[in-house]
Symmetry: C2
Subunit: 209 residues, 2 copies
DNA sequence: TGAAAAATACCTAAAAACCAGTAGAAAAAA
DNA sequence: TTTTTTCTACTGGTTTTTAGGTATTTTTCA
């Protein structure tokens, strides 16, 4: 196993130095670059392989959310760990939805950081303790964000995820395929999805599948 | 919160009695039926609401796997907990893929059972301790089952999950849409998926998304 | 350096999905 | 018993996907 080629992206020099120092003695990773904004990261990223990105959410130019997406599109295997001060549940969830592999607060200990990296390498999503607490208490507002599906819609979502076509489903449920299409459309609207692919992805992210 | 309308499906009368007795003092659930095969369950299920199914994998008629699917298609909210003796990883994973919400071995304690039900009600998938151990040590054979994707394929899978069309992706990556189509086809072949919906679902189940 | 794997690109045609709107019947909630 | 929601179904059209192929050019790596 090679050392993880690691970069740090944060607009606070102190944080960069802090992380750098903390991680300087880790023998499973190597810090190959530090950047104070998104553009710098992207330009480096275009010509160099990166295994691990420690990323702040608030950056002067491109937001951390957007960066997550861009990085993951370019290189889905690159691990992104968010290191941020934001404690809002919605922000945490959003970063994960955009492809981040974990979320830490800036006051995390080296141990937590180490552990998160290890988990992320294994392919798991990992939160520091405090973050874990935040996300494990759901809010009403949060719930409002999850589309409320009718029984039929859930059923059809479920069958879609199994690769069934509208006609298949219509036959199995003794419906017109036009009806199934309508449900499907309503589902896509509720999830703000452009097509089935996104619908299924959203369903999974919402833990409905 | 009403009591969970619970049914037990197992072809061993002893197991049925055992579970019944174990759960008789639980005040959050009520056993409304016990069946010794799949057909019985289905016929009951067609005319009665069921919140929780305790299901054996090996049944004389319809397999537990198939039952999972059928039940979930009819009523995605119904919780299915597998109570089985099978310790093969592949079987465990398959039941979960077919929609089961948890997997217990028959030697589980009442406590574990209770806990599993509670977790499943929360929407989590839950395994008893021993099962947890089994599934947390991946085998080589297991790994072979996970499609090996090329970088490009992963990238395109990722973008598909965001609802992008082949053309969208082609534009973003400066490719011909025909190329993207080919990748997409190869992806579907590797995942044995019939269409994007199933592809994305499989990607999620394989933790690639 | 040579073979294998990956990435790229093309053709055709049918099938399926998607868009935008409407609307009646049934069931659930007020 | 209204009102609202859910489920149902339709028209008519456009776009995208999918299924059969084939085939060249890069990379990668032994």
């Amino acid at each position: 196993m090679n050392k993880l080629r690691t970069v740090i992206v944060d607009d606070h020099p102190i944080v960069i130095e802090g992380l750098k120092t903390l991680l300087s003695n880790e023998d499973n990773l190597e810090i190959v670059g530090t950047f104070s904004n998104g553009a710098e990261l992207l330009s480096y990223f275009n010509s160099n392989p990166v295994d691990l990105v420690l990323l702040d959410v608030t950056l002067p130019d491109i937001g951390g959310m957007e960066l997550c997406k861009l990085v993951k599109e370019e290189s889905p295997d690159t691990i992104i760990l968010i290191v941020s001060n934001h404690t809002e549940r919605s922000i945490i969830m959003q970063t994960i939805q955009n492809g981040a592999n974990g979320y830490l607060l800036k006051n995390s200990s080296l141990d937590e950081l180490r552990q998160c990296i290890a988990e992320a390498v294994k392919g798991n999503i990992c939160y520091s303790k405090e973050v874990m607490e935040i996300i494990s208490r759901p809010t009403k507002n949060e719930l409002r964000g999850i589309p409320q599906l009718t029984r039929r819609e859930k059923q059809i979502l479920y069958m879609l995820a199994q690769g069934k076509t509208s006609q298949n489903i219509a036959q199995e449920l003794f419906l017109s395929s036009l009806t199934v299409d309508t449900h499907r459309r309503n589902l896509m609207q509720k999830f703000e999805a452009k097509n089935v692919a996104e619908l299924i992805a959203a369903g999974h992210q919402q833990q409905l599948l």
